[in-house]
């Protein structure tokens, strides 16, 4: 009788031990799986942040380089051209009426060439560093950009802002939107064979939206990205947006052409510096 009682207890203990092991096994699988997923997620986040940082650094370097080139053009070439113009003016004055017609023609041609070169240098420096953007903001910078392109009689560019007073945003955001707008408009001009471009800028809730629509031949963004060279501009747009958690959507309007809609979460600047930054100041673009 005692043996049977012991057997019962032995069976009970063995079964309970086995069940405990089973419960532990199930709990372990659940816990381990969860932990591995969390680790995997952490690694993915680190990789994502690292890539973002790399991209950010690359774009900052690009802006810094643009500033440096613009500064060199302004300080060195610009100054030398101004001096050349001054010297030419002096030479013309010194020569007085003694020079013949041909010499006079050469002198004036040289003078006009120097003036034209100065204008070109000024335009290039402004293209390299959008000083209007830094001084007055996105609306003015876009309007200035459109104004420059308005010389082309076959192209009509219109710009609509959702509000009259567009609040200043963080420098990085404004620069990103400006560069995206530049890229999209340049793409439309180069590749779309369009006659009309519409730019719309609006703030909806916590997002700033930029839409560029043209009436050109349109394009397939997926195919463009797959091709090795043609899609670099679009990839650049996506890279810039990725840094600011922005998105871009390419559409094909029913009436034809192409439309790109970029959205970025707002980053308002509470304390906007009213004094403009020196356009060619030597500094890292700290955005």
């Amino acid at each position: 009788m005692q043996n049977s009682e012991e057997l019962k207890w032995a069976l009970l203990v063995a079964s309970l031990a086995m069940l405990t092991m089973a419960f532990c096994m199930i709990s372990f699988v659940m816990y381990y799986q969860k932990r591995r997923f969390e680790e995997e997620k952490k690694i993915n986040d680190i990789e994502k942040n690292y890539n973002r940082l790399l991209l950010d650094t690359a774009l900052n370097s690009e802006e810094t380089e643009r500033r440096r080139i613009a500064q060199d053009l302004h300080d060195d070439i610009g100054t030398m051209l101004s001096l050349t113009k001054l010297s030419l003016n002096q030479l013309i004055k010194m020569a007085g009426n003694s020079r013949n017609e041909k010499e006079d023609q050469i002198m004036r041609k040289s003078q006009s060439l120097v003036e034209e070169t100065i204008l070109h240098v000024r335009r290039i420096t402004r293209d390299l560093v959008p000083t209007t953007l830094e001084r007055f903001g996105l609306l003015e910078a876009i309007e200035e950009f459109i104004h420059k392109l308005a010389e082309d009689k076959n192209l009509t560019i219109s710009f609509h802002a959702g509000m009259e007073e567009f609040p200043r945003q963080a420098q990085k955001l404004e620069l990103t939107l400006y560069r995206i707008m530049q890229e999209l408009v340049n793409n439309a001009i180069k590749h779309a064979n369009c006659t009309r471009i519409e730019i719309t800028l609006e703030i909806r809730e916590e997002l700033i939206g930029l839409r560029v629509t043209d009436n050109g031949i349109g394009f397939d963004p997926e195919k463009m990205k797959e091709s090795s060279m043609a899609g670099l501009g679009l990839l650049g747009i996506e890279s810039r947006l990725a840094i600011l958690n922005g998105t871009v959507l390419y559409e094909k309007p029913e009436k034809g052409g192409a439309s790109a809609f970029a959205q970025i979460p707002v980053m308002p600047v509470a304390d906007v510096k009213l004094e403009p930054l020196h356009p060619f100041r030597r500094e890292r673009v700290n955005v």
Partner: protein, 232 residues
């Protein structure tokens, strides 16, 4: 007949619940259309077969007849259905071949065990439970479940195990067979007409975990979604 069943139910309520709780996952499989997954189709067949065997055993037990023949016969079928479920969960061809070989091997082993345990097969009144086959079935199913768990951890494809239907099925099987693995061979000696040895609570543990297993199946099937089936 009904009062006989009722009397049996009142005497052995846990055993009766274990018989009829099988209806819950069975109905859920049909309701949730989980049978579109080959593994769950086999689970449905297993549950139908189990319900039939359990009902027959319930009837014979209520009639005070020896029902261990059904218990013994069901063993290779249970193993075939359950291991068949894992056949569709593993991609390795070698493993699939091993599973088929194990089904055939286990069938032969169970027949040998039945014959060995019952020298006089025609004497159904004194028919005894198998000595090894149920334990071997338990060991094999536990091994398959652990292999599946290893595969889950290794592949890292299921973000949330609590919503993964087959994880619940495996957990239920693991608990049920863990509770039964030591008690099964003892049945060979205790489950006889002349036996005076009562296992006590140890006898009820596998029945309780059989109920828990059916509940785990039901939870798993409840999480089954035909829309997400392709993703699984």
């Amino acid at each position: 007949m009904f009062p006989v069943y009722l009397t049996y139910c009142t005497k052995n309520p846990v055993g009766c619940i274990a018989v009829f709780i099988t209806l819950l996952p069975l109905i859920l499989i049909i309701y949730r259309k989980a049978y579109i997954d080959p593994s769950f189709k086999l689970l449905l067949l297993y549950l139908i077969f189990k319900l039939i065997i359990d009902v027959i055993m319930f009837h014979t037990a209520a009639m005070h007849q020896n029902n261990l023949l059904y218990f013994n016969i069901a063993i290779p079928f249970y193993y075939s259905f359950l291991s068949g479920m894992f056949y569709f969960k593993f991609s390795s061809i070698t493993f699939k071949r091993f599973l088929i070989a194990s089904m055939i091997g286990f069938l032969i082993f169970t027949v040998w065990d039945i014959l060995k345990s019952n020298s006089q097969l025609h004497d159904l009144h004194n028919h005894r439970a198998v000595l090894f086959a149920k334990t071997v079935e338990g060991v094999l199913i536990i091994a398959l479940v652990l292999l599946f768990f290893y595969d889950i951890i290794k592949s890292l494809q299921i973000p949330n195990l609590l919503t993964f239907p087959f994880f619940w099925v495996c957990s239920g099987l693991l608990l049920y067979y863990s509770s039964f693995i030591f008690i099964a061979p003892v049945f060979h000696y205790t489950a006889t007409w002349k036996n005076s040895f009562d296992l006590g609570i140890a006898n009820t543990i596998p029945t309780l975990f059989e109920i828990l297993c059916a509940l785990f199946f039901s939870i798993g099937i409840y999480h089954f979604s035909t829309a997400d089936y392709a993703k699984q």
